[in-house]
């Protein structure tokens, strides 16, 4: 994060953070920035949904049980999206945690809007 300059910072809200990464929302751009695996990547609504689908589709159990001597690397590739992650097993667990937490927070934000702002206009 320290190399990235985004101004003004108020338009950048943290959605969820773990010790391995963070997700920020830009209300102005209607998108999210994911700081993970050494890079900051931009995701719009469609690509964020695709990322979640791709991450949840990884069979972690199978990777852990795999005794073959091949590298435990998983490529998370999202169609029509600029980014692609090449992750080891620990990173897969980490990004899963990050994405799960992010969607819980987005859900919470939805509830807040539904129950507070949208009813008290």
């Amino acid at each position: 994060m320290q190399n990235v300059v985004i101004a003004p910072s108020v338009e950048f809200v943290e959605v969820f953070q773990t010790s391995n990464g963070a997700v920020f929302q830009s209300d102005k751009e209607n998108c999210w920035y994911i700081d993970f695996a050494g890079k900051l990547a931009r995701f719009d609504y469609r690509s964020l949904m695709k990322l979640r689908k791709a991450v949840y589709a990884i069979d972690i159990e199978m990777i852990l049980m795999n005794s073959e001597k091949t590298a435990d690397l998983e490529i998370v590739f999202i169609c029509a999206c600029d980014h692609c992650y090449v992750l080891n097993t620990l990173q897969i667990l980490a990004i899963r945690e990050l994405i799960e937490g992010t969607f819980v927070m987005l859900e919470l934000n939805r509830i807040l809007h539904d129950r507070v702002y949208r009813l008290t206009a």
Partner: protein
């Protein structure tokens, strides 16, 4: 913080997934009816074959209706893969038994979606589903009536020929 996901899509992730599941179910019904039409035709039951052709087209229409709804609400409609269609039947009667069983399972699946909609107060989707509930009334009625012909007419002698002739006359016209 803006509620971007809600702005993009009216449906929750769960309801969107359930609707996509239903899209698949309708596609499967359409293919299953087509297989029944084929079986009936090749066994000389022309009227029943016509009946199942029509049913197959109706199921395709149901599929498209849900497909477009998901898209219109900002969701991602998934073109389903259809596999494991039953092509062979042991008897003329078994075809109709399978048809009724399939309709019952569709009704059940729609009820499950509505139950989830109530849970999260998605009244918009419930209103959309109401058309399907009325449709299922007709679908189950017709399938049940067809099966009843086997009891009323009987399969002996020219029975099956008589049954086949009457299948296409089955109509449901309740005003309620």
């Amino acid at each position: 913080m803006k509620d971007i996901t809600r702005v993009q899509c009216l449906l929750s992730t769960e309801i969107e997934a359930l609707l996509n599941q239903q899209i698949k179910k309708e596609a499967q019904s359409s293919s299953a009816y087509l297989a029944m039409a084929s079986w009936c035709d090749s066994h000389g039951f022309d009227y029943s074959s016509d009946y199942f052709f029509k049913q197959s087209e109706e199921e395709r229409m149901h599929q498209m209706k849900i497909f477009k709804y998901v898209l219109d609400m900002g969701g991602n409609a998934i073109s389903p893969e259809v596999t494991n269609i039953q092509l062979e039947f042991n008897s003329f009667k078994e075809v109709f038994e399978e048809a009724l069983e399939a309709e019952i399972s569709v009704t059940q699946s729609l009820k499950n979606i509505a139950a989830n909609c109530y849970k999260e107060q998605d009244f918009v989707t419930i209103e959309f589903l109401n058309w399907f509930f009325k449709e299922q009334r007709e679908e189950e009625y017709k399938a049940r009536r067809a099966l009843e012909l086997f009891e009323v007419i009987g399969e002996e002698g020219t029975g099956r020929w008589e049954i086949d002739k009457h299948v296409n006359d089955i109509e449901y016209n309740s005003e309620a």
